[in-house]
């Protein structure tokens, strides 16, 4: 432990019952402990300047103030003035931790002494360190070759960042294409129907135009490894390349309908694009194979409207709930009803008989309350659940991303920004948001910003000779920030990835990992000092 002892500074909190505290008795108690060298009382720290601390240059400062000092930037002024590095200054909120929590009659002196000793011990054990910022590597890998991926690649390429697009080569049509196909507000007349595939090809040509963009074949990806400033991808050709950031625009796939002879939305879209006549009775059965999401409901309405107008066929939509919470869906829903599309809201007792393609659907309609029976519709569409395509799923598993119900490669916690995954540096394009690409670009730009990524204050430090290389920390870290160092056969932390939560230090069986400025020893001493 370095010899620098602690100077404890306390605001007298004139604004609170601070004045009732017997400070001189406090000073003598504190001086007895070997952690605190000197005690200083400040009258209303939020107004007084910071010059009074000049005499204590070179000492570690423990400041007992309140959130107002932080808001008015007084702490940062003190740090600049005395040139204190991180680990030499620590502040704690006396008002919130003490005065607010304890009634007046409790003897606050004793509590104050314990609190100061406890915080002082933590500061005493802390080693000062330079604020470190690491810039991630240059290149960006964009996974997926749908519209979202290509538009992201184009936007990044325009800022002359080198982008490589890992094409999944999955040319199948995924749900949500109707809205891209029909949904444009300036949707042209029926004749010139630009299929989403053509739009995708034209987008791809524009992206290919940029010289700093390269397309990689889909099965090129072999394995993957995280390094300090990004991710090293090994490709089947044996080539290794490093990327600072990975952006996933996952291809979605619609589950095939289990009823043989029924189509799912993707098949229907395929028929429309190649101009098949969809005459006769077309029935959409929603909420049967899976609960329909608003995007799929909007697709069904667009498809129904198109078929009704183009082929004047009899369109029926059976559903449990009309999902109209997406902007523009309610108008579309009313429009469809005006155009004569018949909607049935069915109860649980709906039965579907399927004798080799001739369907019979029977149930009670909630609107009117009487039974309905649909016999042998020409086309039956049962939208399936939209899930990550197998290739995207494998890619997400290879990157060890936490996924929500095999549809969103993101952890099930609010605390990650909209496009963040559980791995810092891997972003996900969020298909449903209107300007999802703009928020994705913001996140990528924030990562590539000139300041670089700040290394977390409580980063783990691995004690080389204690570590038994048991990999518990590698398996436990939710952000995959711990890797192995094969030469020294010891666990190693990736400074840009670690968020400082301390799960590794808590689970390490050999107690070889200690967090910087929050070591197990100092925590234990800090608690002991509390009494």
């Amino acid at each position: 432990m370095n010899d620098k002892k602690i100077v404890a500074v306390l605001c007298d909190h004139g604004c609170r019952n601070g004045s009732k505290i017997k400070y001189d008795e406090l000073k003598t108690n504190l001086k007895k402990s070997e952690v605190i060298e000197d005690f200083l009382l400040v009258n209303k720290a939020c107004d007084s300047g910071v010059e009074f601390l000049d005499a204590y240059k070179g000492r570690k400062i423990l400041f007992g103030g309140c959130s107002l000092l932080e808001e008015r930037g007084i702490y940062s002024k003190i740090k600049e003035r005395l040139g204190l590095k991180n680990g030499e200054f620590r502040s704690f909120d006396v008002k919130a931790d003490l005065y607010d929590l304890y009634p007046d009659k409790v003897n606050l002196e004793e509590l104050l002494v314990c609190k100061i000793l406890s915080m002082g011990t933590l500061l005493y054990h802390a080693e000062p360190y330079e604020e470190e910022r690491i810039k991630p590597a240059e290149g960006i890998l964009v996974y997926g070759d749908g519209i979202t991926a290509l538009r992201t690649a184009r936007a990044l390429a325009e800022e002359d960042i080198s982008v490589e697009v890992l094409e999944t080569g999955e040319q199948f049509l995924s749900p949500g294409l109707f809205s891209q196909h029909f949904g444009r507000p300036d949707q042209r007349g029926l004749s010139s129907v630009v299929s989403a595939d053509e739009r995708r090809k034209s987008e791809r040509n524009r992206v290919a135009g940029f010289k700093n963009v390269r397309f990689l074949p889909s099965d090129a990806f072999l394995s993957f490894e995280t390094v300090e400033d990004g991710f090293v991808f090994t490709f089947k050709s044996g080539e290794k390349r490093k990327f600072g950031t990975v952006v996933i625009a996952p291809e979605r796939e619609e589950e095939q309908s289990r009823e043989t002879g029924a189509l799912n939305l993707t098949d229907l879209y395929g028929k429309i694009v190649c101009g098949e006549p969809l005459k006769g009775e077309v029935v959409f059965l929603l909420d049967y194979a899976a609960d329909t999401s608003p995007e799929v409901f909007k697709d069904v309405l667009l498809a129904g409207k198109y078929i009704k107008r183009r082929f004047a066929s009899e369109v029926r939509i059976l559903m449990k709930n009309a999902k109209v919470s997406v902007s523009g869906a309610q108008e579309l829903y009313d429009e469809c009803r005006e155009q004569g599309i018949i909607f049935f809201k069915y109860l649980e007792d709906l039965t579907l008989k399927n004798n080799y393609g001739d369907f019979e659907i029977e149930g009670t309609d909630l609107y009117t309350g009487d039974k309905f029976l649909i016999k042998e519709p020409d086309i039956l569409v049962i939208p399936g659940r939209s899930i990550l395509s197998p290739r995207s799923k494998n890619f997400a598993e290879a990157l060890e991303l936490l996924t929500i119900s095999d549809r969103y490669p993101q952890p099930d916690s609010l605390w990650r920004l909209p496009n963040e995954t559980n791995r810092p540096g891997v972003f996900v394009a969020y298909p449903t948001g209107d300007n999802s690409i703009a928020s994705l670009l913001f996140s990528v730009r924030a990562r590539l910003s000139t300041a670089g990524i700040a290394v977390n204050e409580h980063i783990p430090v691995v004690d080389e000779d204690k570590c038994v290389y048991c990999l518990t920390c590698v398996r436990v870290c939710p952000f995959k920030a711990m890797t192995t160092d094969s030469e020294s056969r010891v666990a190693k932390v990736l400074r840009t990835v670690c968020q400082g939560c301390g799960s590794c230090a808590a689970e390490c069986p050999a107690e070889a990992i200690q967090l910087r400025n929050l070591t197990g020893e100092s925590l234990y001493q800090g608690i002991r000092a509390l009494g």
Partner: protein
């Protein structure tokens, strides 16, 4: 302060619940002191056992709600770890009631206050 009770809370959900509790005028009993950690996932069983061993009457851990942890699974890890220690204590003949963990949303001040009082009553701190 031997007869004291220790509250360990995380600087996310735990701190917000404590602030909400104090802003609603609830006060902690005298024999209780608080200690803050970045995340409840940081507590390991050596720290808890040695603190219990030095005579602290009880440890109450207040973490964030499940699925609401800023470090994704810190609170789940802490819940399981404390369950293991309670079992270890009750096997060793010391009732496991000396240590307990509950999860709180950011504005569950009243619930936190009643949880701390029940725990204090159970463990015998004034």
């Amino acid at each position: 302060m031997e007869e004291s009770l220790l509250i360990i809370y995380c600087s996310e959900g735990g701190r917000k619940a404590l602030q909400k509790m104090s802003s609603e005028g609830f006060r902690l009993p005298s024999g209780v002191c608080t200690f803050e950690l970045p995340c409840t996932g940081r507590i390991n069983d050596v720290m808890l056992m040695e603190t219990l061993q030095n005579g602290v009457r009880g440890i109450f851990v207040a973490g964030c709600r499940e699925e609401n942890c800023k470090y994704l699974d810190g609170n789940k890890r802490a819940l399981r770890r404390i369950k293991r220690i309670k079992k270890l204590l009750s096997d060793a003949g010391i009732e496991g009631k000396h240590i307990e963990m509950q999860t709180f949303g950011p504005d569950e001040g009243k619930r936190l206050y009643s949880a701390i009082n029940d725990f204090a009553g159970k463990v015998g701190v004034s």
